[in-house]
């Protein structure tokens, strides 16, 4: 089976859905972060796939953008984890059900 664009898009869509499901259904803040990371990874796969099957895949532009996205995702994860720790210190909990201070 030769890899086609569709296969990669299906993979990335599946990964995105799994990540979304994790972010929507898990109660632990860290798992929500993991879900978000998975969604980011899915977006990256899309990016690489479209680059790879584009007319000129020899130019490494797609990879460059993906690498930037990964670097930014790493920074985002660091900030996210720091926020989870700060939230835990404040509320003594990382269960997002109990964090409803935004309630109107």
């Amino acid at each position: 089976m030769t890899p086609t664009l569709q296969l990669f898009l299906i993979l990335s869509a599946a990964l995105f859905c799994i990540g979304l499901l994790a972010a929507l259904s898990r109660r632990h803040a860290i798992f929500i972060l993991i879900g978000i990371e998975m969604m980011l990874a899915a977006a990256n796969i899309n990016f690489i796939a479209f680059w790879r099957f584009a007319p000129q895949p020899a130019q490494p532009t797609g990879v460059m953008v993906a690498i930037f996205a990964i670097a930014i995702a790493a920074a985002e994860a660091a900030v996210g984890l720091a926020m989870v720790i700060a939230v835990y210190r404040h509320f003594r909990s990382t269960n997002v059900d109990q964090l409803d201070r935004l309630k109107g």
Binding site: L24, V96, D97, R101, L102, K103, G104
Partner: protein
């Protein structure tokens, strides 16, 4: 058969890693099966390692490589691969055999732990990662496995995560080795920039082969030193040794694995593997980078041996002895005795695993008491443990002729004596040999001789699942000495690729008499000092200040606390202050401008447009109440709404075409 194994070396690290994943996935339900799967994975790895060992025996200087392209990036192609040579094959055998013994021992030691299956999953993972380091044929692939080893050690040192000290030790180990890894990674990048390849061997074009080495040019010394930074961190060399004694917080089998087969062996192995980079442009076998390796090794070896004399925790004594022995290996590598250093690493793997498991058996027997002053007199109660521990002790002290450590230490003494730069390393190793014999004698006397204390009143001998690995390792430690004798230097010739000849006259040389005398001196000084040892250490009586200095590990932890850690704390406080006062202040000032305008408009509002509007607000209030119900404060509801909205947009887009 041979060709099959040379192209499938990757199976060796894969077996334990697959076992680890299986245990993590299904182990929660089946306790016994978890241990069985882990041991099965290790046995598979051991069997393949034996198959891999056979072809390396048949031809001298055997080397099988298997490279493949990982990915292509523009014009650049990144290739990784696996290598099988005598160095790798010998390490594979040692790691899998010692690992197997430790796995079996763990069944007994961890029998009552509630996270039994997780422990075996991590152990398998640890062993698999280390096997990967050994067979990697690319500095990048080696670095990947290197960091997996670091991750596994973090998980295992902090295995009893509910203890704050274990969590702190795990963090310390991870961060300290990370400092070394940063240098290592810079070295990798620089090497790639210079030589254009990270493969070790690639049919003449690899980075350890002459063409690439000559292309590196003058920066080779710095590259070698940066790579050595990684080895300093992993192998617990000064000044990054501080994590290794703290790593004793993990369960004892983990200490055995870290100190014998995996983790600390990785650093020494790395230096041996990339030795050609260190040796570029050597005059009489001396280069700047190798000289630095020697001095780091000398400092580490002496310092750790001195500290070990003044420790009371049975595992900490062994930990400092490991640090000291690793220093010895580094000295050996640095002065050009690569084979001697690796031989000592292999021999050390067996007897240090034996000592740690023996210590584990003792700790198990005396109900998790680790202070040697409180155990005393276990010789009669735990005869098997005592006998095997004594063998380990003699191998570590370097008693010649019958114990593996003796021959390898003699080889190292030989290598250092002919180093042209200085004789200091040679003498420091001689002192190190005396100190090793001294602190091991002290430990044996404290633990196994003398009158029993409360903790050792009813210490049962460990079950056979724990004593059997001890016996196997003890037999290995003794029999391993046969292939190490200078009369028939089989292992040395195997590693260096020269043919071995049987020359009985080499059995007794001046150096062996020297080392016999030194070990004898160390043991007798030990017996003389500690013959009437009780609660307070005799040295503590004689030299309280010096003893306190050594007992507190030369205050190196405290020095780091006052300098590096204090500095980063100040930095954190400074950033906090900046955040609170400068940036936050800026935001508040801008806010105040808004507030000012707000006040102006409010007064206009209240005086001018107030009347008549009140009537219409009640409707808005009702709407507001309706809307506020949607604002539950649950971010996941919000996120779900966003996802639904996104989906609706996509559908709308599709529908509109």
């Amino acid at each position: 058969m041979n060709s099959w194994i040379t192209t499938n070396v990757w199976l060796i690290p894969t077996a334990p890693i697959v076992a680890s994943l299986l245990i993590l996935a299904f182990g929660k339900a089946a306790r016994r099966a978890a241990a069985a799967v882990a041991i099965l994975g290790q046995i598979v790895a051991l069997t393949i390692s034996i198959f891999a060992f056979v072809p390396t025996l048949q031809t001298h200087g055997f080397r099988a490589i298997q490279n493949f392209t990982w990915f292509t990036f523009g014009e650049q192609t990144l290739r990784i691969g696996f290598v099988l040579d005598p160095l790798a094959a010998a390490m594979l055998l040692m790691i899998t055999l010692v690992g197997l013994c430790i796995f079996v021992f763990s069944i007994g030691y961890m029998a009552e732990d509630k996270n039994f299956y997780r422990f075996f999953a991590y152990l398998s993972f640890f062993s698999g990662a280390m096997l990967g380091v050994v067979v990697a044929n690319s500095l990048l692939l080696l670095f990947v496995f290197w960091d997996l080893v670091g991750l596994a050690s973090f998980l295992l040192i902090g295995f009893w995560i509910e203890r704050p000290s274990a969590a702190a030790a795990a963090k310390k180990a991870f961060i300290t080795t990370r400092i070394g890894d940063m240098g290592f990674f810079l070295g990798i990048l620089w090497l790639y920039h210079r030589s254009g390849t990270l493969l070790f061997y690639d049919g003449g074009r690899g980075c350890l082969e002459p063409i690439a080495l000559s292309a590196i040019g003058s920066s080779v010394t710095l590259i070698a030193l940066l790579i050595f930074c990684g080895a300093i961190g992993k192998s617990g060399q000064f000044p990054l040794h501080v994590w290794l004694p703290d790593a004793m917080e993990g369960p004892t089998p983990v200490s055995a694995l870290i100190h014998a087969a995996t983790m600390v062996a990785a650093g020494v192995f790395l230096v041996a593997r990339v030795y050609p980079i260190f040796a570029v442009g050597a005059i009489n076998g001396v280069t700047t980078s190798l000289t630095i390796v020697v001095w780091i090794g000398v400092i580490t070896g002496l310092m750790a041996a001195l500290i070990a004399v003044a420790q009371f925790d049975i595992k900490r004594i062994l930990a400092y002895s490991t640090v000291s022995q690793l220093g010895l290996m580094m000295v050996s590598l640095g002065v050009g005795g690569v084979a001697a250093g690796i031989m000592h690493l292999l021999a050390h793997g067996f007897f240090k695993a034996l000592l740690f498991l023996g210590a584990g058996s003792v700790i198990h027997g005396v109900h998790h008491e680790q202070d040697i002053r409180k155990m005393r007199g276990l010789r009669k109660l735990m005869p098997v443990t005592f006998a095997t521990y004594a063998i380990g002790m003699m191998a570590l002290s370097g008693v010649p002729f019958f114990f593996s450590g003796g021959w390898t230490k003699e080889e190292i003494l030989h290598a250092t004596s002919s180093w042209p730069r200085s004789h200091l390393p040679h003498y420091s190793i001689l002192i190190g040999v005396i100190l090793t014999a001294l602190y091991m004698t002290r430990q044996i006397i404290y633990v196994f001789f003398g009158n029993r204390r409360a903790a050792s009143e009813h210490a049962p001998e460990s079950p056979s699942v724990m004593t059997l690995p001890l016996i196997v390792l003890a037999v290995c430690a003794v029999f391993f000495s046969i292939v190490l004798t200078p009369a028939w230097p089989w292992l040395e010739s195997y590693l260096t690729g020269h043919a071995a000849h049987f020359e009985p006259r080499l059995l007794i040389q001046p150096m062996i008499l020297v080392s016999l005398a030194l070990v004898g001196a160390g043991v007798s000084i030990g017996i003389w000092i500690y013959r009437r040892a009780d609660e307070t250490d005799p040295l503590q009586h004689a030299q309280p200040a010096l003893f306190r200095f050594l007992e507190n590990k030369m205050w190196i932890d405290e020095i780091y606390d006052r300098t590096v850690i204090a500095f980063s704390k100040i930095l954190a406080r400074l950033s906090d202050w900046m955040d609170r006062h400068v940036w936050d202040g800026l935001v508040q000032d801008i806010g105040r401008i808004g507030q000012f305008f707000g006040r102006v408009t409010t007064s206009a509002d209240e005086r001018v447009i107030n009347a008549g509007v009140d009537e219409s607000t009640s409707g808005a209030q009702g709407l507001g109440r309706l809307m506020s119900r949607w604002h539950s404060g649950q971010i996941q509801t919000y996120l779900g709404a966003v996802a639904l909205g996104m989906l609706a947009l996509v559908l709308l887009y599709a529908w509109l075409g």
